[in-house]
Assembly symmetry: D2
C-alpha cells in the first residue's frame, strides 16, 4: 500500500487477461463505450468477440472497428454462444448491455454455456428470476457482476470506511438523490433507448427507479452494509402522462432497523439539474456528503468543527480510500476510472480472488428486491409497506 | 423604479416613524437583535418601550442600554399595556419575541388594548386560536405581522416573479430543506431557549417543524401562491428520545392541487450541516434554486441551456427582484437586510399602505394549519392525510 | 465574551449617541445608504444635520426624508460648519461621501472647526496632504476615520488572529484581487459618479487603484501588520483609451521585508466577474482565503490536511472572530453589518476608547502612500521601485 | 458529428494500431500510468516494448506485468533502439517519461533511428536544442508529440472555439494559475523525482516554471493562437533556499501584441491549495474561466447577463467542444480521458492525418522559448524583457 500515491498503475492484477465479449453496446448504444473503457485500459480483458447490435451488419462493422476479428462478430447472442463454446480459446466472460427485458434470458443462456456474465442494471424483473439465476451461477461456479458504474470511485470506499470505523457515529439520516431533466419534455421522437425505458413490457415495472434509483440503493448498501430496511414508502408519478404507470419522479422513504430514516429522490424531469447524483449520510457525530458530479471531493462535517473537504489521492484518507486510486492527488478521476475499478473487481472475482465487496449477483438481486418493494408501495397508493 | 440600482436608501417610507415596543428579546434572547436591527435602521420605528425580560431588573437595564427611557422599561407585558395605553404618545406596535406558549395570550392582550402586533413564528398552537385572533384584529382594525425573517430577501421576490411570469412552466416538483446539527447531542445543560422548544406544553405540538419548518412552508407559499396542498404525509422522529413526542427530524411529502409533488425536510440533528436552508422549485421548463446561506445568488436552470446564476442587484432581474434591494450589486445582503424589509412591509401595512404580500395574520394562520396537518399525519403513523 | 454567540446585540457601546452629519451621500449617491445603515442601526449615531447634495434643494428634501430637521439641511459644507459650530448641540462628527478631489478641503475645514471626520477612500491625493491633516487632527485632538467598509466583517478579524497566532506559519505569498466588469464598456453616458472617477483632476492619479485597490491594500495591512513593503511594481493600462492616463486594469507586485511576495489585481473591465474581491494569505504551513462575495466562509487549508471551511459565528473561531459578530451562526452577515462595525469602531475612538485597530488617519495615509508608489512605478514604465 | 452525445466510442480512428514503447514510466514513476491509460484504452497503441526503469531488473519485471514480452523489456533506451530497429515489427513510436535532462539525448537517438517520439514537458533545455531536433524530425519525416496532458479536455477546445468565434470580444486580460503546496516543506528525504526537479543540472533552468508553468503557457496558446507575447517579466524566488537558483514560486506578467495583459502564477509552496490550476480569459464583452479540478464545467460570464455554467457533453456547446467528448453529459471526464485525447491526436498525426492542433514539436519549442524568456527576465532582477 503506497499511502498518498495511486495504487493502480496498469500492472496486471491477474495471472493473464480474460477473454471477453459483449452482447449489445454497439455503435448506437449509450453505454457500450463505458464498458469498453472500463474493461480495456489495464490489459485485464481482451475483447475477443461480440454480438454488438440487433442490426447484425452494423454490429459486425462496429466489432471490427473495435478490434474484434470478423468471424467472432456474431449476429446474435445465441450464435455467439454456439460458436465460442466450440472454440478452445472461447470467450470466458460476456457483458450484457441490452434493454432490460433481455437481461434474464441472455444471462441464463450465457451461464448455462459456462460463461461468466457482467450485466447492466436493473438486473432482472423479479427476485424470483434473480434467485433462479443465482442458483444457476452457483451451480456452475460462475460469476455474475452488475455494472453499478459509479461505485468504483475511491471516495465511495472512503465513505464506507469512515462509517465502518465509527467516524460518523450511529447512522441516523440518509438523503440520496439522482435527478436530471433530460426527460422533462414528452417522448415524441425519443430515441429507441428512451422508448423501451418507458414501456413496462421492456423496462420492467419502473422507469427512473430502476434506471437510476438502483444506483442510489446499491451505493447506500456499500456505505451502510450493517443496516436493513424495515419499512418503505414509495410516492411516484408520471408528469408526462404517457409514461404511466411507470414513473418519471419518485420519492422513497425508508426506515432502517436501527431507527435511521432515509429519503431517496429520483427523477428525470428535474429541469436543468446538472448536479444529478448526491448522497448524504448523517451520523450522531458527523456527516459525509458526496456528489457524483464532483467525485474527487468528499464533504466531511463534524458537528461543532469546521467543515472539511477531503480530496482523493491524499495521504490523510483511510487506506480503503487509496487502494483503487488511479490518478493521484490534484489529478481528476472521471467516471471511466470508476468503471475501470468495477471491471477490475469483477475480473478478480472471476479469477477466484474477489475483493471484499464488488457488485455481484447478490447486489443485483438486492436492487431488484428494492424495486419490488417500491412498486408494491406505489400500487398501494404510496403506503408504508414492510420490507420483504 | 431604479432598475439595476438599489431601491432602499434610507428615506422614510412612512409619514412618520412608528412608536414601537418589545415583549421579550432582551439581553439573553437569541432573536431580539434581529428584531431591532430590522426595525431601526431606516428610522421607520422608534423603540419607545419594552418588557424585555422575565428578569425585570435585567430587562430594565437592557432597555436603557438600547435607548429606552427607564420609566418605559416595564416588568411585564401587562404593565406595558396598562401604562402605554394611558399615554398620549403610547406605543403603537409591539413585537413579541417570547416562547411559543405565550404568543397567544400576549397578542390577544395587545390587540385588545388597540396595539398592533409583530409576533414570532410559529404564531399560536392551533388554527382555532388563529381564527379567534384574526377576528379580533379585524374587529379592531389592527395588523398582526409574523417574522418570517428570511422572506424579505430580494431573491425571494425574484423567484416568485419568475414563477408568476411562467418562466419555469407549470410547477411539478418542490424540494425544501432546513436542517442543521446544533441539537445533534442531547439536551443536558441546554439553554432555556432550547428547553422550552422541546417541551410540548411550551413549544406546541412540534419542535423543528414549528421552529424552522414554518419558514420553508411560508416561503413556498410566496413563490407558489396559486397552489393548494391536497394531501400531506409527515414522517417524524426524535433521535434524542427525551424530545419525543416532539421531533428533531421530519420529512413531509405533499401533493398539490395541480399534481405537483413536494418534499420538505427539517431537522436539528443533521450533524455538521451549514448550508442549512434551501429551496428548489422545478417547472416543466426550468428550475430555480435558492440557498439561504448564499442568499444573493439564484440558480436558474432551463433544461437544455447552460445553468445560470443570477446575482442580486443586477439589471437583468425582474422588477420585483429589485424593489427592496438595499446594497446593490457586488455588495452582499445579509439576514439583517431581509429582516429590515419584513419590518418595513409590516410598517407599511400599519400605515394603511400594505405591500402586495407580507407575512400577515393569514400567513401565520397558514403555518399553524400546516403544523396541525403534520401532527395529524404523524400521529396516524406517518399516513397520508387530506389537507384540512 | 460570549464565545459561539453574537457579541453585538444593539446595546449602546458608548455613554451616549454621537451627533452626526453627512456631506454628500444624498439621494443620487451610490454610497450614502451604506454610511447610514452602518451608523444608525445600533443607536450609536444620531443623524442631526447634512449637506447631502450639490443640488441644495434636492439635498434638503432628502435630508428631511431621512429624519433631519429642515433647518439643519444645509446648502454646503461651509454652511453646515458655520451653523453647527454656533449651536450648543452642534454636530460632533461628519461623514464625507463626496468625490475624491473634495476630501482634503472638506476634511480640513471640518477638523479646523473642531468636528471629527469620517471620510471615504482614497482619503486624499498625496501623502503630504495626509501628513498635514494628520497633524491638524492631532493638534485638535480629533479623529479621522476612513470607510474601508469590508474590513468590519468578523472573518477579517479571524484571519488576522490566525496569522498573529502563527497558525499559517511565516507568511510567504499574498494574492489579492478586486475586479469587476461594470466599466467594460466605454464611459459614454456614464453616471456623474463614474465621470469624476476617470478624470485625473477629480479622482487623483488613479481610477481603480484608488477606487477599489485601496480596499485590498488596507485589508492586507490588517492581516499582516508585521510586514512592510520593500519593493513594488505597478503594471497598469486603460483598455478604454479615454481613461488614460488613469487605469481600468492594474497588476501590482510587492516584495515584503520578510521575503514574502504579493500580487494584487484590480480592474473594472473584468467582464462578467461577480466574485469580485478575494484574498489568499499563504504561510509556510497553511493558507487562508476569503471572498467578500461569500463573506461568512473562510477557507483554511493546512498543507497535507483536509481543506477546512470555517463559518462565522461558530464556537471554534478565535475570540477575535466573534467579538463583532452580529447575526450568529447560520445567519448571514452582509456588507451592511460590516459597515456597522466600522462605524462602531470609529465611534469608540471618538469616545476615547478606540479598539485595537480601526481604519484611522494612519490607515488612510497608508493607502495614499501606496497609491503614490504605484503611480511612481507605473510612470517609470512598470518598473520596480523601492517603497517610499 | 453527434451533437449532444459523445464522439469517442472506442472505434479505432486509425487503419491499424501503432506499435508503441516507453522509456521510463515504470513502477516507481509518477507519470507512467497516465501515459499508459491515455494510450491503451481505445486500441490505438499496442505496448510492445520498453526500457521502463534505470533499475533494469525492476523495469523488466514491470514490463512483463504490463503485458510486454520479456525479450522486449530492455535495459536501456540504447538497447531498445538497437533491438527494435532490427525487427520487422519494431516499435514505431516511443514515449519518453524520464527526467528532463535526458529528454534531448533520448529523443535525438529515437528520431535518428526512425522512431516517432512522445515526450514529457518541458521538452528540452534550450530553443537551440529544440530547433536542432525539429530539423531532425522534419528531415526524417517523424512526429514529436509533447504530453501537455490537461489540454485534451473537451472544455479546452470549447474555450478556444468561443474565443475564435468572437464570443468574448477582443481579449484584454488573461489570468492563469497552477499552484499547489506539496513542496511547502523542504526537500529533506524527498523522492528522487523531486530531487532532480530542484537540481539545475537535471531539471534545466527552472523548477515550477518548467514543471507546471508550461501547462499554463501551452493551454493559453491553444485558446489565444492569434496573440503574440511582446514583453514579459518574471519575478521568481525559492522559499526553500536549497532550491535556489531554481524557483518554487514565480509570477510572470506578459503584454501581448494586441495590448492584452496576462498574469501567470506558478508555485509548489501554495500551502493547502487543491484548486490548483485555473484559467480566466477576459474579453471586451465576456469572460470564460476553467478550473482543471472541476474540468467538466466552464464559467461563461457575459457582462450584464447572468453568469452561465456550461457543462461538458451538452448540445449547446460549440461543435469543437463535442468532438472529443468521451463520457457524455452528467458523466464526469477525468484527467485520464484528457490524456487519451492527447495520445489519440498524436497517433492521428503519426498516421498522417493530424488534427487542426495538437501538442507538437512547435508547441514544445514554444514552451522552452517561454522558459528562456522567463529565466532571462528573472536573471535581470525581474525586469521587463522583450520577448525573443
Amino acid at each position: 500500500m503506497k499511502i498518498g500515491g495511486m495504487m493502480i498503475n496498469g500492472e496486471l492484477q491477474l495471472a493473464r487477461p480474460l477473454r471477453w465479449g459483449m452482447v449489445g453496446g454497439g455503435r448506437t448504444g449509450q453505454v457500450g463505450y463505458k464498458h469498453r473503457t472500463g474493461a480495456l485500459r489495464d490489459g485485464t480483458y481482451h475483447l475477443v468477440c461480440g454480438a454488438f447490435d440487433v442490426d447484425a451488419a452494423r454490429g459486425r462493422d462496429f466489432g471490427m472497428r473495435v478490434g474484434v476479428a470478423e468471424e467472432r462478430c456474431y449476429d446474435s447472442y445465441q450464435a455467439l454462444i454456439a460458436a465460442e463454446t466450440a472454440r478452445a480459446d472461447g470467450v470466458e466472460v460476456v457483458s450484457v448491455a441490452t434493454p432490460n427485458f433481455t437481461h434474464y434470458e441472455i444471462t441464463k443462456a450465457l451461464l448455462s454455456a459456462g460463461i461468466h456474465v457482467i450485466c447492466e442494471k436493473p438486473l432482472f424483473f423479479s427476485v424470483a428470476e434473480c434467485d433462479e439465476i443465482a442458483a444457476l451461477a452457483r451451480e456452475k461456479g460462475l460469476i455474475v457482476g452488475v455494472t453499478y458504474g459509479y461505485t468504483g470511485h475511491p471516495m465511495v470506499a472512503q465513505m464506507a470506511a469512515m462509517v465502518a470505523k465509527g467516524m460518523l457515529g450511529e447512522i441516523r439520516i440518509v438523503d440520496m438523490q439522482y435527478t436530471h431533466g433530460f426527460n422533462a419534455g414528452d417522448d415524441t421522437g425519443a430515441s429507441e433507448a428512451q422508448q423501451w425505458r418507458v414501456d413496462p413490457a421492456r423496462s420492467g415495472g419502473t422507469f427512473v427507479l430502476g434506471d437510476i434509483g438502483t444506483h442510489l440503493q446499491y451505493l447506500s448498501e456499500i456505505v451502510l452494509p450493517h443496516l436493513k430496511i424495515e419499512k418503505l414508502l414509495c410516492d411516484r408519478t408520471a408528469f408526462i402522462p404517457s409514461r404511466a404507470p411507470l414513473e418519471d419522479h419518485a420519492t422513497v422513504l425508508m426506515h432502517y432497523d436501527n431507527g435511521a430514516r432515509a429519503r431517496l429522490w429520483v427523477s428525470s424531469v428535474d429541469a436543468g439539474q446538472m448536479d444529478a447524483q448526491r448522497y448524504r449520510f448523517v451520523g450522531a457525530k458527523a456527516s459525509v456528503e458526496w456528489h457524483a458530479a464532483r467525485p474527487d471531493e468528499l464533504l466531511y462535517e463534524v458537528q461543532g468543527e469546521p467543515s472539511r473537504i477531503l480530496h482523493h489521492g491524499m495521504p490523510y484518507l483511510e487506506e480503503e480510500g487509496h487502494e483503487y486510486d488511479r490518478m493521484g492527488a490534484l489529478h481528476t478521476e472521471g467516471l471511466g476510472d470508476s468503471w475501470a475499478n468495477i471491471y477490475l473487481w469483477i475480473a478478480q472475482a472471476i479469477a477466484g480472488n474477489p475483493p471484499a465487496r464488488y457488485p455481484d449477483m447478490a447486489a443485483g438481486t438486492s436492487g431488484v428486491r428494492w424495486l419490488e418493494n417500491c412498486i408494491r408501495s406505489a400500487e398501494a397508493g404510496g403506503a408504508w409497506v414492510d420490507y420483504a
